[in-house]
């Protein structure tokens, strides 16, 4: 589907029919800032004829205004869509770009290279089949390249295409290319990333992006696009046991009660025995209902409505699972964490954890680890700062059904939400399921709610004011003075007490 090149050559009927089944590859483009990522993606879109004339016209205008390439088209401006990005000439946020060839459809996730925007890179990596890591031949691996590799490893992206860019500036030298390759392989091997395909490119001129480079005849491997078209995505979710988190209870009338959700892994068949967690009730699937008629079976990735043979009370947040390989119910998990909040992650603080369709309160236990990029070791830490990768143990306020991330992504991944601002502050992958620690079954008290602080302020004031009234009357003997003192005091001190409580609720010191 080479959009502008030769539209007449399509077997149009078969194209229409194929489209529904056409394979989709999502890949993330990451690497250090200024290593030319946006340029490479722009080049990929341009060379595969994915740009429309009006977009090219707008690009020519923008290139003259903001560009860094002199009179030439600056492809980075194609993907850097926000005004701040164009002005600062950097990528701030993830951009999604779409293109297709006759072989498959692609979603390119263009991730920012600046350290302060690493969260956006991690978000993109969580949904990627493959990572395109860009390293400039002149600069080699930077701290940010290493950070990205660690995040890829944490999120289970094991397949990497290493584009060694700016080969033109390295004199098209094979040694320069091999040196970057060796550096990356050495670093990545320690992280379990072993499927690395290195390709030498010059994004600015398009060498080895779509067309084979004239300058590097020593390179015999595929061009970038050839590789992306041919690589087989690693997908294992269809071989895993059945899991379906319930999103919504479908109850149009008295005679129908169905449970809607997206099949997170495995397969479901009519008549199959299933278990509902957390209740643990066992039943059979009676129907698999869809808008287009009932199904006999449905597999991972499909959204369906299930009905059960027995009257079972289940709701959003529950999960329907295979009876024989059910997930573990636990209220303590050890997790790999990536922190995105401005305030560091700290033990003792409370967060909301959202996993599949369930949300629970969690508290972070004391022992934290932070991944040190230079030594590639976990070091013990008291907090995990923004953009750091670490490990920690989470205590949930009730047991939920959980899988290890490596076994089922949808039921093994979660986000952490700040309970005050509701910002998404962290993401995590379940590494291990733990038994409650000795004597630690009960969670420490939660942070006070505003209503509770206020109620305490009022009740304390009522008690205090009676006391003030009596003391003042005994000393002054004047009901008039006593009255005005008591009223003023009630009003001011309720407010003061409330704020005093709120300040204390933020102080972790002295809490157990």
């Amino acid at each position: 589907m080479n959009v502008q090149a030769q539209p007449v050559e399509y077997e149009f009927g078969s194209l229409l029919e194929q489209q529904g089944r056409m394979d989709l590859l999502r890949f993330i483009a990451c690497g250090s800032v200024d290593h030319g990522k946006s340029t490479l993606i722009g080049r990929l879109l341009y060379e595969s004829k994915q740009l429309f004339e009006d977009q090219l016209d707008a690009l020519a205008v923008d290139s003259r205004k903001f560009g860094t390439q002199g009179a030439d088209l600056d492809f980075a401006l194609l993907v850097d869509g926000l005004a701040a990005e164009r002005e600062q000439k950097i990528t701030i946020d993830v951009a999604y770009r779409f293109f297709a060839t006759a072989r498959r459809k692609f979603i390119v996730i263009d991730a920012p290279g600046h350290e302060q925007y690493t969260a956006n890179m991690a978000t993109g990596a969580s949904v990627a089949d493959l990572a395109l890591v860009l390293v400039s031949a002149g600069d080699g691996l930077t701290r940010q390249t290493k950070r990205h590799a660690v995040i890829l490893s944490m999120l289970g992206v094991r397949r990497v295409v290493l584009a060694v860019n700016k080969m033109d500036r390295a004199g098209w030298s094979q040694e320069a290319f091999r040196s970057v390759e060796a550096q990356f392989r050495e670093f990545a091997a320690g992280l379990g990333i072993d499927d690395v395909v290195p390709i030498p490119v010059a994004a600015k001129n398009g060498d080895n992006v779509v067309n084979r480079s004239e300058h590097m005849r020593w390179y015999r491997g595929p061009t970038l696009l050839e590789y992306l078209e041919e690589v087989e995505p690693v997908r294992t979710a269809d071989r895993q046991p059945f899991r379906m988190p319930i999103q919504w209870v479908n109850r149009p009338h008295q005679d129908f009660r169905g449970y809607c959700g997206l099949i997170a892994s495995g397969e479901v068949r009519a008549g199959m025995p299933v278990k509902i967690l957390p209740s643990g009730r066992v039943t059979r699937i009676s129907r698999i209902v869809t808008f287009d008629g009932d199904l006999e079976r449905a597999a991972v990735g499909r959204s369906v409505t299930l009905t059960f043979a027995d009257q079972i009370d289940a709701s959003r947040g529950d999960i329907v699972v295979a009876v024989d390989r059910a997930p573990v119910m636990t209220d303590r998990i050890s997790a790999r964490l990536f922190w995105m909040g401005n305030e560091p992650l700290q033990p003792g603080r409370n967060y909301l954890l959202k996993l599949a369709t369930t949300t629970v309160k969690v508290k972070i236990e004391p022992e934290l680890g932070v991944f040190d990029l230079d030594s590639r070791q976990l070091v013990s830490a008291k907090a995990i700062a923004q953009n750091e990768i670490g490990t920690g143990t989470l205590k949930l306020d009730r047991p939920i059904a959980v899988d290890r991330y490596a076994e089922c992504q949808d039921t093994g991944s979660f986000i952490l939400i700040d309970p005050e601002s509701y910002d998404t502050v962290g993401m995590g992958c379940v590494a291990d399921l733990l038994k409650p620690n000795a004597g630690g079954g009960k969670l420490a008290r939660w942070t006070e709610t505003h209503a509770r602080s206020l109620a305490k302020a009022v009740s304390w004031r009522a008690t205090g004011s009676v006391d003030t009234f009596i003391v003042a009357f005994v000393i002054t003997g004047s009901p008039k003075i006593v009255g005005s003192v008591a009223v003023t005091e009630i009003l001011t001190k309720i407010l003061i007490y409330y704020f005093h409580e709120r300040v204390w609720s933020w102080v972790p010191w002295g809490k157990r």
Binding site: F52, E53, G81, F291, T424, M427
Partner: protein
């Protein structure tokens, strides 16, 4: 669910019908009517709602109408701001909706490409592109406090072609204006504008000419350019789209007020 009557809205509505089947979608549709939509769009909207038995709210910015705002004399920018952006905010505030679905796609425009699926808006409906909630995996954080709201874009990762292939595959009805037919048009700044009613001003002696045209996107008729075409079916239309050297938003007058104009509109609360 924001229902703008266009092809993306038609797909979104179809997905909602499928997702909640056998129940009906548990939310009303909202159409922000600028009073300048093509007549065929309104007829199509009313037909669909009747046929499907859905709950539809139509909102018009009465105050804007009273001020005499229109796309021809007020200009596209003011018209869009008052009759679409402000009108949408009025409707959302009036009904106190904390979330609204929309059919926007990331491939439409550069700043859309950077927007989240769950797009958080503060109490003034403002979008802050630098402070968006990360959306790893399929986990969305839909929590809001009073007054704050979400715009939710389920079609974020669809392309124009995906939309047409899906319409073909599922047999989803769309407004006939997407297909080529003889229609009365006049040329304005290089764009073919359809004379849909008597409000379209014609120069002295000017007459609308009948050309065989269709529309790639639909909006207010004086702001929507037609393309000459012979595509009368969805497959013909897909074939034509594949061969086209232009993107679909080219026909939209409102997008051309500078490269970052959509971003500015969105920050102000445009969908």
């Amino acid at each position: 669910m924001l229902y703008s009557i266009g092809k993306d809205s038609s797909v979104l509505l179809h997905l909602a019908l499928k997702a909640f089947y056998p129940a009906k979608p548990p939310f009303p549709l909202l159409h922000v009517d600028t009073t300048w939509k093509f007549r065929e769009m309104i007829a199509f909207r009313d037909g669909r709602v009747r046929e499907l038995g859905l709950d539809m709210i139509v909102h018009v910015n009465r105050e804007g109408l009273a001020r005499g705002i229109d796309p021809i004399t007020s200009g596209s920018e003011i018209h869009t701001d008052v009759m679409k952006t402000q009108a949408l905010r009025q409707a959302l505030d009036h009904h106190r909706f904390d979330a609204a679905f929309g059919g926007a796609r990331r491939d439409e425009e550069k700043s859309r490409a950077k927007e989240r699926v769950f797009s958080f808006r503060n109490a003034d409906h403002l979008w802050n592109p630098k402070r968006q909630r990360p959306e790893p995996w399929r986990i969305y954080n839909g929590r809001t406090r009073r007054g704050e709201s979400m715009r939710v874009f389920p079609l974020s990762n669809w392309t124009e072609l995906d939309v047409w292939f899906y319409i073909h595959h599922e047999g989803i009805p769309v407004v006939p204006l997407y297909f080529a037919a003889p229609r009365p048009v006049v040329e304005r700044d290089g764009a073919l504008i359809m004379v849909d009613d008597e409000r379209m001003p014609l120069a002295a002696g000017e007459r609308a000419q009948i050309r065989t045209v269709r529309f790639r996107t639909l909006g207010c008729y004086p702001l929507t350019g037609a393309v000459e075409s012979t595509a009368r079916t969805v497959p013909e239309l897909i074939q034509e789209t594949l061969a086209s050297p232009h993107s679909e938003r080219r026909g939209r007058v409102i997008d051309h007020d500078g490269a970052a104009s959509m971003e500015r509109k969105k920050q102000a609360g445009y969908f």
